[in-house]
Amino acid sequence: MPEDRCGAGTFGGRVMLTFMASDSEEEVCDERTSLMSAESPMPRSCQEGRQGLENGEGAAQWVGSHQQSKASGQEPESEFGCQDRQRRDERTRGQESEEDHEEDPDRYVCSGVPGRPPGLEEELTLKYGAKHVIMLFVPVTLCMIVVVATIKSVRFYTEKNGQLIYTPFTEDTSSVGQRFLNSVLNTLIMISVIVIMTIFLVVLYKYRCYKFIHGWLIMSSLMLLFLFTYIYLGEVLKTYNVAMDYPTLFLTVWNFGAVGMVCIHWKGPLVLQQAYLIMISALMALVFIKYLPEWSAWVILGAISVYDLVAVLCPKGPLRMLVETAQERNEPIFPALIYSSAMVWTVGMAKLDPSSQGALQLPYDPEMEEDSCDSLGEPSYPEVFAPPLPGYPGEELEEEEERGVKLGLGDFIFYSVLVGKAAATGSGDWNTTLACFVAILIGLCLTLLLLAVFKKALPALPISITFGLIFYFSTDNLVRPFMDTLASHQLYI
């Protein structure tokens, strides 16, 4: 099984492949782990912030951004095409490396529009925030559903068939202490690989090796879309005992993968792009669920939330440095893979409001918009057409509908890993899975609320993963035996 060989990481090219694969996986994991609120730094003018936004960093509050962007000359429409392409490239590049970096961008808040009462802004922010929370709930839920459904039905992903080279220590040890020690060592190795890769990417970015990063990202998404899909499809067909001939299979996988590459790295309908991003997150999460040994998985989840917290909030974190570098250069930060829920996908700005032609791109995001490491969703940029002038009552609504929220794929992946592991390791128990699912949604909600309160960039992983871990262990050990007994005797409490 190619995955096995990848996982075991044997020789030469395979090792390279594994390295890249895991690398991409990890990078994916890393860099997508935070909610990025599109916000510009306080001291900067919103205009700059807007620039930064376009680079994927963050946007001023939509209200502010509207006015500011109108004021500043935003990129001319004609540039859209190239910028789009560039961003897209950067996004693909960003996938792996970006993820780390992406966490950082968008950590800055821009003040709101002058002249608007702060309470109103906050109310609007929260109202949009609530809407965006829901817009994030749906894809996160879908991803988790796909992962849990696969885990519960396809045996392949719960069988132990080797480990990644990043977790070399086995957990088949005789004593509990040894097992724990091995899992901690595995975690240390994996986290240090992630940190090294992040730093490597920051260095690459600093020295402008864009092509290298682009190529890397394209390779990793190629692998995800073709190889992992092929394996997944094979296992699902095996589980349901459906026969499929190779020509049909290759045609299916080819179409799926090619359309995926186009949608993700270039342009495509928003819904299709969202669906592809959810699918590749689910595939990646499944790979992790399969190849990470149990205790290592839990320790890694905890460690990566801590890492996320540190990398996003510490001034010396690599992600922060990446963001700052990108802002200095006024460039988009690695437009990597981010899930964008912006509602309008306009190719070539077809939907641009004719009255506001001059105002270019708008940093669309209200404060609530979050991009996780991968920042920017290129698609979102073109989608964000110039906002109408504030003050026109009807237009606010239009803007609101056009705004979207972005969440990095690393968040999707780690949330799904947590829920999938809960589904895989519980003894066929659904209570644990559901408890973890609810915990993650609560965490997501709270993170967004905290974002509204602090108006500062916050990582998306820590709160959700902490709640998820607490709920998993307490439900599995305390609640499950109790509920099992109750259910078997039809006792209701």
């Binding site: 906050e122 109202k127 949604l441 209701y492």
Partner: protein, 200 residues
């Protein structure tokens, strides 16, 4: 132990709750947040100063429904997943309608939680402490029935009677009256929740 049993029991138990969710909550994002967080809190309300705060009754309804759904799901989902697997129900002499009884019991529990939520919040707001006591006692009663009485049919009938009574109580507590009920049934009520999705 077939797919029919699975789907049937699933919809019996969760259908009304799902319908309530879809028609009254799914369209309003803030309500979903209240549902997920499980209970309203002053903190949430304070963060939301400008917007017309969802009324207390709405919060009571949403949190009651949330509690009910979680409680129903936690008690029933494992049984449901077992119903798909191979096996014979009641092979040791237990009643063969185990799944159906469980499904109906789950339904009654979910709806009861919702009504209890409404009544409880109202009791807290108006400081009618006897209300809280009654809610607590009826909850204990329904649970104790399932513990003590082996006759699931009797349990169900009593639970449904309590459901109807609690429902009527919640209806009057949340401001309904015979008049408004008549208007609603005759589809003349322009303020109904389903008519326009606004919080009451």
């Amino acid at each position: 132990m077939t797919a029919a049993v699975f789907f049937g029991c699933a919809f019996v138990a969760f259908g009304p709750a799902l319908a309530l969710y879809i028609f009254t909550i799914a369209t309003e994002p803030l309500r979903i947040i209240f549902l997920i967080i499980g209970k309203s809190s002053e903190g949430l309300k304070s963060i939301n100063p400008g917007e017309k705060a969802p009324s207390m009754r709405l919060l009571a309804y949403v949190s009651g429904l949330g509690f009910g759904i979680m409680s129903g799901v936690f008690s029933f989902v494992n049984t449901l997943s077992d119903s798909l697997g191979p096996g014979t129900v009641g092979i040791h002499g237990d009643p063969p309608q185990f799944f159906l009884n469980s499904a109906f019991m789950t339904l009654v529990i979910i709806l009861l939680h919702m009504f209890w939520g409404i009544v409880f919040f109202d009791g807290c707001e108006k400081k009618k402490w006897y209300t809280l006591l009654v809610v607590l006692l009826t909850h204990l009663l329904v649970s104790a029935l399932t513990f003590i009485s082996p006759y699931s049919g009797l349990n169900l009938v009593l639970a449904y009677i309590i459901l109807v009574l609690t429902g009527i109580w919640a209806f009057f507590v949340s401001g309904g009256s015979c008049q408004s009920l008549k208007l609603c049934l005759l589809c003349q009520d322009k303020d109904s929740l389903l008519f326009n999705q606004r919080s009451r």
